[in-house]
């Protein structure tokens, strides 16, 4: 941001150490360079790969190790103690003893700055020199833990939702499979229905054909009377005679006009004709006619 004249401001690097205690990062830090984010007292060490333990302690105290007013062993040259020197001295020397921090012999027993930065982050201590993109790495540990817990909760919830979605997905897959099976079944039933309809049509046609051949009711009765009448009046065959009637005369007569009928069929119809004439009360007339005319 470009500020107008007369603007009153803080140096960002001077408020960062205090803000870090509360886990606060300023938006302005995102656009600021590593140099701008490094407090004045630490700028000499911005590009240092290795730093001696005494300087590390002073930097943690917020003091420039090459400060003119610094005497030695944690005292200013007026004899007053450097704030927090004892605390950080104890921490650093213990970390070296425990090999949490390693002094490198070939580098005059200095400590690698990346290792210091990592150690500070783990110990929830503010290290004044950020690296590019890691300026927010000094967030208090409890905030990081809180963030991790939040993420774990979110992960659990996401996992639970995933399981639910998987169950729903399985239900939908099963339902789809069942629907496809029903579709197949329905298709088979439709085909079977077509076959049945075709069979019904065929049967209807056959019934219709049969119905055309069947003579029933009054027509049948009248035809039987005609059959009986003609057989007796023209061929002089006594159809009322029980036993061996003259079927041969009838079949011969039919043969002569090209109608082939078995004696059994002819006998059957003649018996029906005799029965019909008897039922209708015409039998006596027919028998009388035969007596008179059949030689």
């Amino acid at each position: 941001m470009i500020y107008p004249s007369e603007t009153i401001a803080f140096k960002i690097s001077s408020v960062i150490p205090i803000l870090r205690k509360y886990g606060i990062q300023l938006d302005s830090e995102k656009s600021a360079s590593t140099d701008a984010l490094t407090p004045t007292y630490a700028k000499d060490y911005l590009h240092a790969t290795y730093i001696d333990p005494e300087s590390v302690i002073l930097l943690l105290c917020g003091v420039n190790p090459s400060h003119d007013y610094y005497d030695q062993d944690g005292y200013w040259n007026d004899g007053s103690p450097v704030r927090n020197y004892r605390k950080y001295s104890e921490l650093i020397l213990t970390a070296i003893d425990n090999q949490q921090l390693n002094t490198v012999h070939s580098k005059n027993n200095k400590i690698n700055q990346d290792q210091i930065r990592s150690w500070c982050s783990a110990m929830n201590i503010y290290w004044p020199i950020p690296t590019n993109g890691t300026a927010f790495a000094n967030t208090p540990l409890k905030d990081q833990n809180s963030e991790i817990e939040k993420l774990q909760d979110q992960l659990k919830e996401a996992s639970s939702q995933l399981k639910e979605q998987e169950a729903n997905s399985k239900f939908i897959r099963d339902l789809t499979l069942e629907r496809d099976n029903l579709k197949d079944e329905n298709l088979k039933l439709k085909i079977a229905n077509f076959d049945l309809e075709a069979e019904i049509d065929d049967a209807k046609q056959k019934i219709s054909a049969l119905e055309r051949d069947i003579i029933s009711g009054k027509s049948r009765s009248f035809l039987l009377e005609i059959l009986g009448g003609l057989t007796t009046s023209l061929l002089y065959v006594d159809i009322f005679k029980s036993g061996n009637i003259e079927i041969g005369k009838v079949t011969s007569a039919l043969d002569s006009v090209g109608i082939n009928a078995t004696p059994e069929t002819v006998s059957n119809y003649l018996k029906q004709a005799a029965a019909r004439l008897s039922d209708s009360g015409k039998a006596d007339t027919v028998i009388e006619y035969l007596k008179i005319n059949k030689g």
Binding site: M1, I2, Y3, P4, S5, E6, T7, I8, A9, F10, K11, I12, S13, S14, V15, P17, I18, K21, Y22, I24, Q25, L26, D27, S28, S31, A32, S33, A36, G62, R83, N84
Partner: protein, 96 residues
């Protein structure tokens, strides 16, 4: 580097008091009022024992950023400055 970038670089190390309040307010969340955010800043500076409190700088049209000589980096001065900001805020909220 263009001229505007030069100006931006000069300003990138600093944050105005108003921006500082706004950014702290933002980090505390919308449910916290701006007045409450200023009270939190005052409490933070009052409680600070480990690090030097920040000095105030002023941008001069002639010489650029300079330490503000009328302020010393003490809790009292900072508290006074932010208390004044809070009063101005409350005054702006009055309906007349």
């Amino acid at each position: 580097m263009n001229l505007l970038a030069l100006l931006e670089e000069e300003d990138s190390e600093y944050i105005s008091i108003d921006d500082f309040i706004d950014q702290i307010h933002k980090s505390l969340g919308d449910e916290v009022s701006k007045e409450k955010a200023i009270e939190a800043i005052i409490a933070m500076f009052r409680a600070e024992k480990d690090f030097d409190l920040p000095e105030l700088h002023k941008k001069d049209p002639m010489s650029g950023w300079n330490r503000e000589p009328t302020y010393t980096a003490t809790a009292d001065h900072l508290v006074s400055l932010f208390a004044q900001k809070k009063r101005n805020l409350e005054f702006d909220d009055l309906p007349f």
